[in-house]
């Protein structure tokens, strides 16, 4: 026993303390102590989770309350649900809220299609093809992930304004067809690298060209990466406010975030019920995407972020 080597003098000290100190008498005691520790951990985690979600739940509950009650009731009990908040909010702006939902859905759809096509093409080239300048282009792509959009927005706006494309969805969607969301290129590169080269070699020996390999081998195998991209694009575009605020000023073309912000600025301080109701409506799609796509979201983040 005296020959045992310890990681550090402190470890040695602690080990000897442990031997001398009151030792758990039996397995029951050890098990109880472990259970107590687990219970404390869970209590801490549950309290944190409750604190975090409370405001969101309060938002949902309050959206069913009369406006004058919202700021008097921090609790979660609803007396008489005011569904009228929803109908009032739905028709609270120049257009019914459904128009904004549809506009957002169109922009989101366009962005998803654009990202899926352009990013997967670029990713295939970076992951599996050998070409001159590959390393340089790849480094540029990686650096562009971190480039702030603000340095581009002024000239882009001038450019799109000159083409007469302000108050259209083109400035929001077109860049996605040109793979400007380099983050997704990177995510897909990571994924395609995992596809065995032997598979591609075999296809090549069978006479497949690159377009064929891409369409019938790469794309079907990278469905999880495509799904992750679609989900992230959905959430980011749905929430995107900066560029939609800049390009969409026509009330008929406003997307949900822009409309909601207009609603907030125009509604008087007594009109919180309908405003809350439309806030909830605007979060519903995100919530569903999260519900069905969270496994992919978590994997996607972990894969591109993990070491």
């Amino acid at each position: 026993m005296t020959e045992t080597k310890y990681a550090s003098p402190r470890a040695k000290e602690r080990a000897s303390q442990r031997e001398a100190g009151p030792k758990p008498q039996n397995f029951v005691q050890i098990r109880n102590r472990r259970r107590l520790r687990a219970a404390l951990k869970h209590a801490l985690l549950i309290v944190t989770a409750t604190l975090m979600l409370y405001p969101v739940i309060w938002l949902i509950v309050s959206s069913l309350r009369p406006s004058d009650e919202i700021f008097r009731n921090p609790g979660l009990v609803i007396g008489d649900p005011q569904w009228s908040n929803y109908s009032e909010g739905w028709n609270g702006l120049a257009q019914p809220f459904g128009v904004f939902l549809l506009n957002s859905a169109l922009v989101v759809l366009g962005c998803i299609v654009g990202n899926l096509i352009s990013c997967s093409m670029a990713a295939y080239a970076f992951a599996k093809l050998r070409f001159t300048g590959r390393r340089m282009w790849f480094a540029i792509m990686l650096v562009s992930i971190m480039l702030p959009i603000h340095v581009l927005i002024v000239p882009q706006y001038i450019f799109f304004a000159n083409l007469g494309w302000v108050n259209t969805f083109i400035p929001l969607i077109l860049p996605k067809f040109l793979a400007t969301d380099a983050f997704f290129v990177f995510l897909m590169v990571q994924f395609i690298r995992g596809i065995p080269n032997e598979l591609l070699e075999a296809a090549r020996l069978d006479g497949c060209g690159h377009p064929r390999i891409f369409m019938s081998i790469i794309l079907p195998l990278m469905v999880p990466a495509l799904a992750t991209t679609a989900i992230f694009t959905f959430i980011w575009t749905w929430n995107d406010f900066f560029s939609q605020l800049i390009y969409l000023t026509d009330p008929n073309l406003m997307t949900v975030p822009v409309a909601l912000r207009g609603f907030m600025d125009s509604s008087s301080s007594t009109n919180w019920g309908p405003l809350f109701a439309m806030s909830v409506v605007s979060l519903v799609p995100i919530f569903f995407v999260f519900l069905f796509g969270q496994r992919l979201l978590v994997q996607g983040i972990a894969r591109t972020g993990g070491k």
């Binding site: 951990k41 080239a125 970076f126 406010f241 972990a302």
Partner: protein, 313 residues
């Protein structure tokens, strides 16, 4: 491999080995065809606008008349622009306080959640959800209602007999409500930490435990050092993101960055100058200053990484 790890590898291999050029034929034609959309985007949507905004930063331009060169006027004006100084102070405070807090929370909860905890997936989902909602306008609306004069926070405080002022209406506290909002979205760095924690071989902990290392020692001697590349990745990414924060400050302050410039994020000020006053020349100069600031901080981060980031390869 994170994008940063990847970049490091690219840089490393560029210095080192000569590629076996003859080994395989190249697919130049196919590759550039597949890259075509990306290359067009890089040119039209990224590089040309970058260069144009640099050029515009030396002009006076309001969209109506053609830009006219005014030399260094925009850049000199920045030196005496009080709002800019306010916005820099606000933005730096915001970045320096909310990034460490957010990453601290993310790391603490990732460590708590790691290692076979029952209900891990459930907790992870709940903690992750706010980071998806956090930048939406709806949550900004909610934040106004939570931290307003009669908001949720003050309602709860009133139960304890404390009469709170509006957190958003006071220049002393408005920024802190935004910090809270940013910390609230710690879920996405947490998920990255969780993935990193899973890469640490269980054997290290077993060996340490046999040697009598306590939980804290195991954390500081094994977990932290092996996690430094991921902490670094999260740090660089969050600093870059946080400098660009816009929506929440814009919506919560009603587009003003007030009260008294106390939530005037850099990007909010840039928006006001560029798309409020249509001062495109000045806004371009502001945008370039932001790029320089972010680049400088990223460079400092990379330089400092030599002293604290531990690579296991």
């Amino acid at each position: 491999m994170s994008s940063l790890g990847e970049l490091r590898r690219v840089a490393k291999s560029a210095k080192g080995a000569v590629e076996d050029k003859a080994a395989r034929t190249k697919d130049n034609k196919a590759a550039y065809l597949f890259l075509l959309p990306w290359l067009i985007g890089l040119g039209l949507i990224t590089i040309i606008p970058m260069v144009s905004s640099l050029v515009l930063s030396f002009t006076d331009y309001n969209l109506l008349r053609a830009p006219s060169f005014n030399g260094l006027d925009n850049w000199i004006h920045m030196l005496s622009d009080e709002h800019l100084q306010n916005s820099l102070r606000v933005t730096f405070t915001y970045v320096f306080i909310s990034v460490p807090l957010q990453l601290g929370f993310a790391l603490a909860l990732a460590v708590l959640l790691n290692r076979g905890l029952r209900g891990l997936a459930f907790y992870r989902s709940i903690y992750y959800l706010p980071s998806l909602l956090g930048t939406s306008v709806a949550i900004a609306v909610l934040w106004r209602a939570v931290f307003g004069g009669e908001g949720l926070v003050n309602q709860v405080l009133a139960v304890f007999g404390i009469n709170g002022e509006s957190w958003i209406g006071s220049p002393d506290t408005a920024l802190s409500t935004l910090v809270v909002l940013n910390v609230w979205t710690f879920g996405s760095p947490m998920v990255i930490f969780l993935a990193g924690l899973r890469q640490i071989p269980e054997g290290y902990y077993d060996a340490a435990q046999v040697d009598g290392a306590g939980a804290w020692t195991r954390f500081t001697r094994i977990t932290l050092p092996l996690l430094t590349p991921i902490i670094f990745f999260n740090l660089v990414l969050q600093v870059v993101h946080t400098f660009q924060a816009f929506t929440q400050a814009f919506v919560i302050s009603g587009g003003t960055g007030g009260p008294l410039d106390s939530t005037l994020f850099y990007t909010v000020y840039l928006y006001k100058r560029g798309f409020g006053n249509f001062d495109m020349g000045y806004a371009s100069a502001l945008a370039w200053l932001l790029v320089l600031i972010i680049a400088a901080f990223t460079a400092i981060n990379f330089w400092a990484a030599k002293y604290w980031v531990f690579y296991d390869d």
